[in-house]
């Protein structure tokens, strides 16, 4: 097990360099220049443009820029400086990540609790009315676009019932984050429900369940331990990948509810061609993805004793 983890951690290194380099090159390939962009319709003074470009190393060849950036990041934990504001990227990350973490964990909690329980209910009663109702709800969540769902929730809960504030003014207030988290969780929640349901319905007919029932185990133990553990493997796989998606892919939801999280910051930095900020944010997301998938793989062994890592 220990050796397996070590090997997986070592594998992260080439993945880490590969992704960062790719993103660096992609931002570089976009037309437009972050320094020139500061001046808009005006031409700006060539001297100032030149000295800004020199300060941020933009006059260097791209690979030298990448090397310098990586050196700063690995040796000094320095993610570079935002060109327009002159703020260190670590500060920008420090602003955006806590907000996103809060939103993503809330959404993740909703997704796990609601998704798995609905899935179990549907799976246990496969083919009956409950199952069909849950199917329709899940399909609805998947097919309605995020922004439509967001507006519907806003109109109903904020403007008509006045239960919740329409937008987030203070990201540490769970009340305000509830609605965006629900919207963010909606689509994934539906997937989790469907996955759990199929898996449960299938395993319900498996031999070991029949055996468990036959040897007289209480129903709670049959479902809670024997059935659940085996049925959760595909769900856990999906959830692992989804953590990353919830954190980085919430651009629409964030915009809808005025949340200043990672998604919006990445979008803004791409528009401004702030390569360093994009790479810094994405690097952290890449690490989150890698760790989450490692965690998922380790969880397999916990869930299914047949899976072992040498």
């Amino acid at each position: 097990m220990g050796r397996y983890v070590a090997r997986r951690l070592l594998q992260m290194i080439p993945v880490f360099f590969g992704t960062t380099l790719l993103i660096f090159l992609m931002v570089y390939a976009l037309p437009g220049d972050p320094v020139r962009g500061l001046f808009g319709d005006k031409a700006g003074s060539p001297q100032v443009i030149a000295s800004l470009r020199r300060e941020y190393g933009l006059d260097q060849p791209i690979l030298v820029q990448y090397y310098e950036y990586m050196k700063g990041m690995l040796l000094h934990a320095d993610f570079g400086t935002q060109i327009a504001s002159g703020r260190p990227v670590t500060d920008v990350l420090g602003d955006a990540f806590p907000v996103t973490l809060r939103l993503a964990s809330l959404a993740f909690a909703i997704e796990v609790v609601l998704g798995i329980s609905l899935g179990i209910v549907a799976g246990m009663r496969a083919g009956r009315l409950t199952d069909n109702v849950i199917l329709v709800v899940a399909l609805l969540f998947i097919s309605v676009p995020v922004f439509v769902l967001g507006y519907i929730l806003k109109v109903v809960f904020a403007f008509q019932l006045n239960w919740l504030p329409p937008n987030v003014n203070d990201p540490s207030n769970i009340n305000e984050l509830l609605m965006p988290a629900l919207v963010l969780a909606a689509a994934s929640l539906a997937y989790v429900t469907r996955l759990t349901r199929t898996s449960i319905a299938e395993n319900l007919r498996a031999d070991y369940i029949r055996t468990a029932i036959a040897k007289g185990l209480p129903r709670r133990r049959v479902v809670g331990v024997h059935l659940m553990r085996n049925s959760l493997i595909p769900v856990v796989t999906y959830l692992g990948i989804d953590i990353g998606a919830l954190m980085g892919g919430a651009v629409v939801t964030e915009g809808l509810f005025n949340i200043k999280g990672v998604g919006g910051t990445i979008y803004e930095s791409i528009v401004r061609r702030e390569g360093t900020t994009v790479v810094g944010l994405v690097t952290i997301l890449v690490i989150v993805y890698l760790l989450a998938s490692l965690l998922v793989d380790l969880l397999y062994a916990v869930l299914d004793p047949r899976i072992r890592y040498a």
Partner: protein, 543 residues
């Protein structure tokens, strides 16, 4: 959303005008009768802005989110009123005999927010600092008119000096500015926040000062919570004519206008600068007389790229014809939902020297004459044009409408040439890669008509991206700049504008309007020429 707009200005006298109407009762303005009348002079209000892109250094703020904050914190020598006339703020007088050397006398008793006095040195040192390329101030080119700028910031090579020879401190409250050439309307430029003074403490750590600015303006800085809000409070020792009528301002950070509008309706924010297109059809019914709809000094044009084969030696008649093929009235009313006003010239409203008619019919929709003019001018080369625009600026709809109008009226094929975002659009313009025409917006820098003419159409002007170059226009600009007085210069520029239909450097489409609104908590909200609300004039109602 709002892109990096060009520099913006404020009009103080809008406040003065407001002050005049409210003159009788600072204490009890009970005219309107109902309970909403009581004013809390120390009340703070909130306004929607985005996160400033730059540190809050006066010469480093080019986009609108930063400049609205900077203007609250810093006062300049002069400012303007609603009609574009100069008002003295920190300056007691700015005198000149030859439009080349200006003597500035400061008002006595002004202090920075840290208690140090505002002296002639505060100005001269600040300008020299900002002009030095090593300090990387984005707006440093504004000092290029001053003598000695080319030594401080040479086009190439090392700087020969650190101070501009054109700036001289005479005594504590007097200094002189000498320009390289005479500019009759130079005083107008002095109202721009680039020309703000800086306290001595600034130079110790300019980066820190950009996060916690100390100015001489009507508000003092309280806090900046990145991506959340910036708070400023009234500066009680403020000596200027535009003393704040409220206790302070909270600049609340919104990423988009839709959410800001929702918050306005639910009372979480007090003043908006803009309404999102989605809410335009309903905002007047939602807000009643708190919905604002008013012209401001900005113009949208489409400009031919004169460096292309297509437009290189074009007969201006062709462009006149294209201009007459655009049905401005209908497009502004339908596609743009009344948020723009058809243009009648190149200079926008609210600017000194604005003319409501140039005595030319090229702005009226007339398909027959349009066809005829294009024919007389030899036709549009290739009989097809394209209009380049940035897809992230909400331009797609009207570009399509303009194209449609042109094709319908004249049969010239017209397509939109979409660039992914403003950056990509600028890039193509800078590299002179525009294929046919491009859209271009211009928000005033200072309310004098030269800003819309000289700075865009002079062969070497900084805003000239189309490659337009015409000897006669250059001559007329030189003449207007050599005029003896501001008035005369303005008139010469007016004459120039009247002649522009013969040269057609661009096709003006429409003037911008402010579509904004405010909440029930505030009153006295007015908007200046640049489309921003006048913060100092806002009054907060008692709760």
């Amino acid at each position: 959303m709002r892109g990096a707009k060009s520099a913006k200005w404020v009009a103080i006298a809008a406040v003065v005008a407001l002050g005049a109407t409210a003159c009788g009762g600072g204490s009890g303005d009970s005219g309107s009768g109902d309970k909403s009348a009581a004013i809390d002079p120390n009340g703070k209000f909130s306004i929607e802005v985005g996160e400033p892109q730059n540190p809050l250094q006066p010469a480093n703020t080019m986009e609108s989110n930063g400049s609205i904050v900077t203007r609250a914190l810093f006062s300049t020598l002069v400012d303007y009123d609603k009609s574009g006339k100069i008002v003295m703020v920190n300056a007691d007088s700015v005198d000149t005999t030859d439009n080349k050397t200006f003597t500035v006398k400061l008002k006595k008793g002004w202090k920075f927010h840290d208690g140090t006095p505002v002296t002639a040195e505060s100005y001269v040192k600040a300008w020299n600092w900002a002009a030095t390329p090593a300090n990387k101030q984005t707006n440093s080119f504004w000092f290029a008119d001053i003598k000695g700028y080319s030594d401080v910031a040479p086009e190439s090579g090392k700087p020969k000096a650190t101070e501009m020879s054109g700036l001289k401190v005479v005594d504590d409250s007097t200094f002189t500015i000498e320009l390289t050439t005479a500019i009759p309307y130079f005083v107008y430029k002095l109202g721009y926040e680039v020309f703000s003074p800086l306290p001595e403490s600034f130079y110790k750590d300019p980066a820190a000062a950009g996060k916690k600015p100390i100015g001489n303006g009507p508000y003092k800085f309280v806090s900046w919570d990145n991506k959340k809000q910036i708070e400023v409070a009234r500066y009680d020792d403020y000596q200027g004519p535009n003393k704040a009528k409220n206790g302070g301002v909270i600049f609340k950070n919104y990423t988009n206008l839709e959410t800001a509008y929702e918050d306005l309706k639910s009372g979480n924010v007090d003043v908006l600068r803009q309404i999102a297109p989605k809410d335009l059809p309903v905002y007047k019914t939602d807000l009643g007389d708190r919905g604002v709809d008013m012209a401001y000094s900005a113009v949208q044009t489409i400009a031919p790229a004169f460096y292309t084969k297509q437009w290189k030696d074009i007969d201006p008649k062709v462009l006149q014809g294209l201009s007459m093929a655009i049905d401005r009235q209908t497009i502004t009313k339908t596609v743009l939902q009344g948020t723009r006003e058809p243009a009648t010239g190149w200079v926008a409203k609210g600017v000194l020297g604005y003319q409501d008619s140039l005595g030319s019919d090229i702005f009226t929709y007339n398909p027959t004459k349009a066809k005829q003019l294009i024919k007389e001018g030899g036709g549009v080369p290739k009989n097809a044009i394209s209009i380049q625009y940035n897809a992230d600026g909400g331009h797609k709809e009207w570009v399509a409408a303009v194209c449609n109008s042109i094709t319908k009226a004249t049969g010239v094929k017209c397509t939109g040439d979409s660039k992914a975002d403003f950056q990509a659009d600028l890039n193509a313009r800078d590299a002179q890669e525009v294929k046919s025409m491009y859209r271009s917006g211009w928000v005033l820098d200072y309310p004098f008509n030269a800003n819309f003419l000289r700075d865009l159409f002079g062969t070497k002007s900084s805003g000239n991206q189309s490659g337009f170059s015409n000897k006669e226009v250059d001559n007329l600009i030189a003449q207007a700049d050599a005029a003896k007085s501001q008035d005369e210069s303005m008139k010469l520029y007016q004459d120039l504008e009247k002649k522009l239909p013969n040269y057609m450097p661009s096709i003006p489409l429409w003037y911008y309007k402010v579509n904004a609104g405010y909440s029930e908590n505030v009153t006295g909200v007015a908007y200046a020429q640049d489309g921003d609300p006048v913060l100092t004039g806002v009054q907060v109602k008692k709760k």
